[in-house]
Symmetry: C2
Subunit: 319 residues, 2 copies
């Protein structure tokens, strides 16, 4: 039984997969901050999901925000978890006595998204010629690529870090120092900072104000500009992924996709508009290549569970 975890800044999700790749147990708990807290959260989650599934855990895969050097089990710069650098694979593997793989959470979700699509449409993915990108729209913007049935991490683990591509030299200043980065336009944190109104769901607030009935005011104009930036940032990200890697599908996930069609419909419209002036872009049918993860899909945890098999360079299958 393979266990996969998605360790996030606030909660940790765990799934157990049987030999056919079917989810047989799923648990969720709050993440405890800091290195010791994260390790304790991981061990408790594995124990709980293992007990719920009632089988023997043969491998553990862990998706986490932060940087992972390809081939290592060490996470670094996981600011949201309060972890500077931690060899998670060694510590958890030592405690559990099973193989442990660690991967960036967006890359793990890309693997999970590919498997979820294969399960939904056998033959759609996993083949040598297939390509899928997972575009995470959360606090930041980053993507994961599954190329020819395997996760493509890049030479230094940075593949898919498209958030810091500038698509507008006069665009808003990004935390990274550049202007007009995709993340400065479409990242949840950047939007919240530019919006500046307090609230638990600042991006939803932007959409509410932008879509509000009645006469507009300067606040509505500001909300609409932010919403337009978000839409053009996501559309730019889709173009970058398809024109560079020519993936068959860009699967959208992350917190901002809770907006559903309020976000996705204008992104599709923006992609259709660029096809109106460009026959080349039109021939790529970008608007039809977007898919959205169903709400609550445990893509990152599922992908994490499959890391051990992926490392063995098996072609991924799921029952």
């Amino acid at each position: 039984m393979r266990v996969g975890l998605d360790v996030g800044g606030t909660k940790t999700e765990a799934v157990a997969l049987d030999d056919a790749g079917v989810v047989v147990a799923r648990v969720r708990r709050a993440t405890t901050f800091g290195p010791d807290g994260v390790i304790a959260t991981i061990l408790a989650s594995v124990e709980e999901v293992g007990a719920q599934a009632g089988g023997i855990v043969t491998s553990v895969g862990i998706g986490m925000p932060g940087q992972i050097v390809p081939g290592s089990g060490t996470i670094s710069h996981a600011v949201n978890l309060g972890v500077r650098s931690l060899d998670v694979a060694a510590v958890v593997g030592g405690a559990l006595g099973v193989p442990v793989d660690v991967e960036n959470d967006v890359k793990a979700a890309a693997l999970g998204a590919a498997v979820l699509r294969t399960a939904a449409d056998p033959g759609a993915s996993g083949a040598a010629e297939s390509g899928l990108a997972y575009l995470n729209l959360g606090t930041g913007v980053a993507a994961g690529l599954v190329i020819g049935g395997a996760l493509w991490r890049g030479v230094r683990g940075a593949a898919g870090e498209i958030g810091h591509l500038s698509v507008d030299p006069e665009g808003p200043r990004c935390r990274c120092g550049q202007r007009g980065c995709i993340e400065a336009l479409a990242g949840g944190r950047a939007i919240a900072e530019r919006w500046g109104r307090p609230g638990a769901l600042p991006v939803a607030d932007v959409f509410d104000v932008a879509e509000g009935a009645g006469p507009g005011g300067s606040e509505r104009e500001r909300a609409r500009a932010l919403r337009d930036d978000l839409v053009r940032g996501v559309a730019a990200a889709v173009r970058v992924l398809v024109l560079t890697a020519d993936v068959d599908v860009v699967v959208l996930g992350g917190g901002l996709t809770a907006l559903g069609d309020r976000l996705v419909a204008p992104v599709r419209a923006a992609l259709r508009r660029s096809g109106e002036t460009s026959p080349f872009l039109r021939s790529l049918h970008l608007d039809e290549r977007i898919a959205v993860l169903p709400p609550g899909s445990p893509a990152a945890a599922m992908g994490a569970a499959l890391l051990a098999a992926e490392r063995g360079e098996e072609v991924l299958t799921v029952g």
Copy 2:
């Protein structure tokens, strides 16, 4: 003995490789326009390079400008060759009685560039974790990707078509209808059209005027603006390739690289500048990841010669 051809709009280059992948013969001839002319050029080139090498031709690979549906031997939209649609593999294979593979010339050059780098630095490429992009700076701008030792064509053969990514919504209008496409900034044809002065080498003319000594005038200002656009377009292309695919190296080729360090040095400087404001970009060492094909390297012809082996999904090696 494997033969590879690079069929260009004006000339066709052919190489013959022995079993160890070493170039044992190389010929060049003018390309004849139109479907019949192109086929005649190909057959004459194969005969000539085979005779020069003095061995038996076991396979022929052909790189051509235009679109190729992955897995087919049909080229389409090869405007520079006067070919609308032609099943080159069937016609040439029927005439020669050997397996014939056809590939887009930029993708063939990417494969050739990967092999040339492996030959220069064994162990640098070809491995499963390696990644290389070949960025062709010619009439247009396009790239080819070699990921994990294999050419990544994309799901519809469009991988690497980054020329039509917009990086400036206020930039110059592109032939494709968008504004600020990488190709509108850095494509040889776009620069020649914007420059508007007659001459055989319009981009070199732009650089000559931009770099001219003596007091500047409006013509020099215009040349400098075009040169700056070219540099920022190439730098943007490098960023797109590294941040999306995290390739180890971006190999520059194509006619514009005849400018040598007049082009490459300011591109490196532009990449270093973006690292000055962005610690993330600095950590990627983009300026150090650029390489330039030696002038006259038969990268596309060499890559074409290796298409048959690549199709067999062998890991490419070269002696």
